[in-house]
Symmetry: C2
Subunit: 468 residues, 2 copies
């Protein structure tokens, strides 16, 4: 890909960032050359750690000159291999661009470098008496730049939207090496195409997000959770509609009985109630007045009368709230010992029951020994499909069978006009399946846009789409 | 621009749409050849009225073949001449694409053709027991396609965001003549660049939005308004911050004493209270419980104690709520007899007081006889600057002086990193000022994106940017 020697490149890069901020030791290459996906062997040429937007720009300009591939690296919690450097690329890590730069109380905005960790931003907001509402399991490691590049959503989307919805302004370095200040933190600005939204969700294929001004909001009051046992997956829709008529939900999650079983087996958290149900819904809302609580109880009772809800429990304290959440949030970790196949897919909310049943059926029909674990953000139509490896099956055979499952799942996604990636991104792992969600004509436009911002294809090469 | 005869073009277009759906009579040309801006003489070649996305596509393909400029026409309420056809273009009117196509109760979405009128959508939502929250003065005429093409905001942005935030999916015909189904109505979908957000706010320069699936939400409960008299414009910030700590405002508007004077002079609506103040704030919130009302009263009292608020009134009924709103919403009409110069600008919220004072000062210094009327969506940093024509000054001289005012205003906008167009768009009237908000480098990217979707420059030519 490049014509000058690796040694020369490494030496040159050293001139563009602060002393010691280019690393080539084995451990750094292994650590910063990959994300949470384990399918690819990391093989970067070097890791650079810029500290400013201008240093990022210098690296991009140099990479353009010598046609060197650059891979962005944030908290490395990605699940689509979007931050894997397996082909001698230079990794640009935001580890040292982790400063909260500026807070404005009237505007309720905070300007951050891209390497600020999600939890760091959440805590900063809390210290100001405010709230950053985007939250998910990897909040302790994931970085803002990565969140924005995959438009991360998580558990509060039904009330607060995606990462996209909290961006007032972005500073980016395009693949051509230009610094752009996008939207200038304005609430209202209608002066031509909103490039901010093009960079959000682009998985680093158009350029680097180096700084972001994020909006904050009022801290929620007295969050209260309900866990309900449902007779059938279709009841998730009945319950959702009943509650939404009166109450603004801050979360609407679901999990199957099997999923909960794995959490309960760990013994750290009690069952919500004795009644067994095939599916459970977790609802959360701000219990800001007795009226809201009365409304919630009345809706609950009417759902029981209708036969949609078999049993239920409501949190009466913060401890109980946290325990109910652990039933949902503990799933991923509790099944991780079973080498799960994972998929992150979505359809419009109303299609979820049919969609889930079809996938259940096709997998069970062909692989009756596979244990399917369902959970996810059902209020957003976003399902996390997990399949556990049977103990007597070796990894290789399991993943070969899962490749087949992938095809069935994506065919069903396509038939229901869904998405092959709800929030994890396309990266390397889903690139070949992109056509199940985006038409060939659409992909041609994506390629043309990529060419506008990154004509030499140096930005995260091989991810998302191949160049024209 | 084209090589075949106008007669042939008109005849050919007649083959692409339903019988009678091409008009060339003087009245139609004059009516559909312009929007609310009166600065340009309409001079279209013909008006076509497609009824389906496929007919729009046929027109675009034909226009590409013969390099004919196309101008989109919605409710024609634009204030930036974005829908003016002054150069023999063919106007594509969405007048007959005004059907609500599909409603989904679980998803709370409604699919509409682009010609659906804002109020029609609001009423449809209400009939379903739901709410479409984007609202503004021209809701009775403006069409959805136009709202999306300027990313219209209006009076509830502080709580509900812009038009952009309510779009689940779009059907568009690109300038090249491709039909794209964008985002498939999904809540979560992270599969490459989100082209939906590129078409929103593009003012019809990339293609036509032909259908949109819009999200709806819960109807607000017991909306209550406060009008407060403020001693100084800077108090708008103090009051905003105090309320936002506890209460989710559904609106935060402001107007000057002079602005209110024009409304009161019409005699249809009473003054809110006797105390005179230079500025007034109008706050609205859902009074969902006694607690919220108690909170609001406590904050109000503390604002009075601090000296920020001189007097205030709270609505106790829907009639009172509507009367308080008329103080704000009646301004535009009440000053229209004075041939006002209008500008729609924004800065980040915290900069509003300084920004407003600077503009006041420069205008007053040079033109002491100009009456400046301030009002707008101050909670979004969006100000509507109006200057009334002195009676003894002829229109021509007035607008010549206003051209000078434009320059001062936009220089101040630039210094405060604001926007020359908050929500009205750039169109023709602000094209030459675009550089005050977008850098030259950014504009070069805008041009390149335009070229991707509309390589022959047939889509709304001359608006927003000139081609490369």
């Amino acid at each position: 890909m490049n014509t000058i020697s690796p040694e020369k490149i490494i030496a040159d890069l050293g001139q563009l960032v602060e002393p010691g901020k280019v690393r080539t030791d084995e451990e750094s290459l292994a650590t910063f050359g990959k994300d949470w996906t384990k399918l690819y062997e990391p093989k970067p040429l070097a890791i650079v750690f810029p500290k400013t937007t201008e240093q990022v720009q210098a690296v991009v300009r140099y990479a353009n000159e010598h046609k060197i591939g650059l891979v962005p690296s944030g908290g490395r919690t990605g699940l689509s291999a979007g931050a894997v450097a397996a082909n001698g690329e230079v990794v640009v890590s935001f580890e040292y661009m982790n400063q909260v730069l500026e807070f404005n109380a009237s505007d309720r905005t905070v300007k951050c470098q891209a390497g600020v960790v999600t939890e760091q931003l959440q805590n900063f907001a809390e210290e100001q008496g405010l709230y950053y509402p985007v939250d998910f399991a990897s909040a302790g490691s994931s970085q803002l730049g990565g969140n924005l590049s995959t438009n991360a959503g998580g558990i509060k989307v039904i009330r607060y939207g995606m990462s996209r919805d909290w961006v007032a302004g972005l500073t980016v370095v395009t693949g051509k090496g230009d610094i752009l200040e996008l939207n200038k933190d304005l609430e209202k600005n209608n002066t031509g195409y909103d490039l901010r939204h093009l960079f959000i969700g682009a998985e680093g294929t158009l350029g680097f997000i180096t700084e972001a001004t994020m909006k904050l909001t009022r801290k929620p009051t007295n969050l209260t959770a309900l866990v309900l046992g449902l007779g059938d997956i279709s009841n998730t829709m009945d319950v959702l509609q009943s509650f939404q008529q009166k109450i603004d939900l801050t979360a609407y999650e679901f999990f199957s009985h099997k999923a909960m079983g794995h959490v309960l087996a760990h013994g750290d958290v009690p069952a919500p109630f004795e009644t067994e149900a095939p599916f459970y819904a977790l609802l959360e809302f701000e219990s800001i007045s007795e009226q809201v609580m009365d409304d919630a109880m009345a809706i609950f009772e009417s759902c029981v009368e209708q036969g949609w809800v078999l049993d239920g429990v409501i949190s009466q304290s913060e401890t109980q709230l946290n325990n109910l959440w652990r039933l949902r949030e503990g799933i991923s970790e509790s099944i991780s010992v079973h080498t799960p196949y994972k998929n992150d897919i979505s359809v419009v909310v109303s299609k979820v029951p049919e969609f889930l049943n079809e996938i259940d059926q096709v997998v069970t029909e062909h692989y009756p020994d596979f244990e399917i674990i369902w959970f996810g953000h059902i209020g957003d139509g976003n399902l996390h499909l997990n399949i556990l490896k049977p103990q007597n099956l070796d990894k290789e055979s399991f993943f070969a069978k899962c490749a087949q499952v992938n095809k069935w799942v994506f065919e069903i996604v396509e038939r229901h006009q869904g998405s092959i990636s709800a929030e994890h991104g396309v990266g390397l792992t889903k690139k070949e399946y992109l056509g199940y969600t985006r038409s060939e004509t659409e992909v041609a436009y994506l390629r043309a846009i990529k060419h506008v911002f990154d004509p030499q294809n140096i930005m995260n090469p091989g991810k998302l789409i191949d160049p024209a």
